[in-house]
């Protein structure tokens, strides 16, 4: 039920997957929108604060997720899929994880370049790493932006693949990430 089996996802994996999906899409939409806010918008300060707080929490969740991934049993790829599908899905997942981590780390490098930590919803402060290289805020900022576009591109392919398997191939690729078999 909680754990994965060799053919099915358990509740823990499913929960982390969908929370992360919601967070990634929300962070992208919020980030894309907030950078063009005018100074007197009531969101001008609030939106970046929420963006940073959710980002830090997602970094924690992703760290747990990767540890869980190595520790727990992962279901085998669908036997009905082609070998090239297994391979491309594996690489897409790896690149998604790498991009997520890189985006979150670069976001931290933008905000903490001056030695200020990041407040997570006034609950606690994530410590600053300081300025590790010249022009850190600008370089990390450009990287953060383009890596986020790349991630959303991959998310789109990932979702399109899941929908293709569900509606065209009519297999359980999508449903096994949606419901838990007893």
């Amino acid at each position: 039920m909680l754990n994965n089996s060799s053919t099915e996802y358990g509740l823990i994996t499913i929960f982390i997957h969908w929370i992360s999906a919601l967070a990634v899409l929300s962070l992208f939409a919020l980030g894309f929108w907030m950078v063009d806010l005018t100074y007197y918008s009531s969101w001008y300060k609030t939106a970046p604060d929420i963006h940073k707080s959710v980002g830090i929490l997602l970094l924690f969740l992703t760290t747990i997720r990767l540890l869980w991934r190595f520790w727990a049993t992962m279901p085998a790829p669908m036997p009905t899929h082609q070998q090239w599908e297994h391979q491309s899905a594996r690489w897409a997942h790896r690149i998604i994880y790498v991009l997520m981590l890189a985006i979150m780390v670069s976001g931290i490098l933008i905000s903490t370049a001056d030695g200020r930590g990041i407040w997570v919803f006034d609950w606690f402060q994530f410590p600053a790493v300081g300025e590790l290289f010249d022009d850190q805020a600008d370089i990390a900022g450009a990287f953060h932006q383009y890596a986020a576009y790349s991630l959303i591109g991959l998310v789109f392919i990932h979702a399109a693949g899941a929908l293709k398997h569900h509606f065209i191939d009519k297999d359980s690729t999508l449903t096994r990430m949606l419901r838990v078999k007893r």
Partner: protein, 195 residues
Amino acid sequence: MKKHLIAAVMSSAMLAPMFVANTASAADYVIDTQGAHAFIQFKVSHLGYSFVMGRFNDFSGDFSFDASKMDQASINVDINTDSVDSNHAERDKHLRSPDFLNTAKFPKASFKSTSVEDKGDGKFVVNGDFTFNGVTKPLAIDAVMIGEGDDPWGGYRAGFTGTTHFAMKDYGIKMDLGPASANVELELVVEGIKK
């Protein structure tokens, strides 16, 4: 009587170079950015309740002046705009972006004096062309001579302060910080070492 004559001749011979020095052409100075004895500080109202202050860390320049002929003085300053520093990494990143200083496209700002009006009492007005964010417009700086003289290390220094202000909109700055924050005040400290 003879003694007095000799004394008069000698003293005038000794004093003569001083008068010559005073009427000589203006001396050239390099602004002491190497020793950081010069500052370009800015101040912008925050919401009308307070101020944000910051500075440009990287600039260079020189000036030429003679305290007795202030109206012939001149000054040139070049500023690397990506050295903007308001003590906040996120804000500085925003200041460098196309919303404000557009430093990737316009990495240099400059001030080149065109004329100086001596207002007496050590006060003067420096008129010049200020190039900022790719826009060049005339700008007048109210300046005060602070002092000049030998430094303890074998050099000769002269120093001034200056203040001016301009509307961000006049220099094509896109970001609208609201009516209370439309203007930038600049405070300058310029110390030069005689070349």
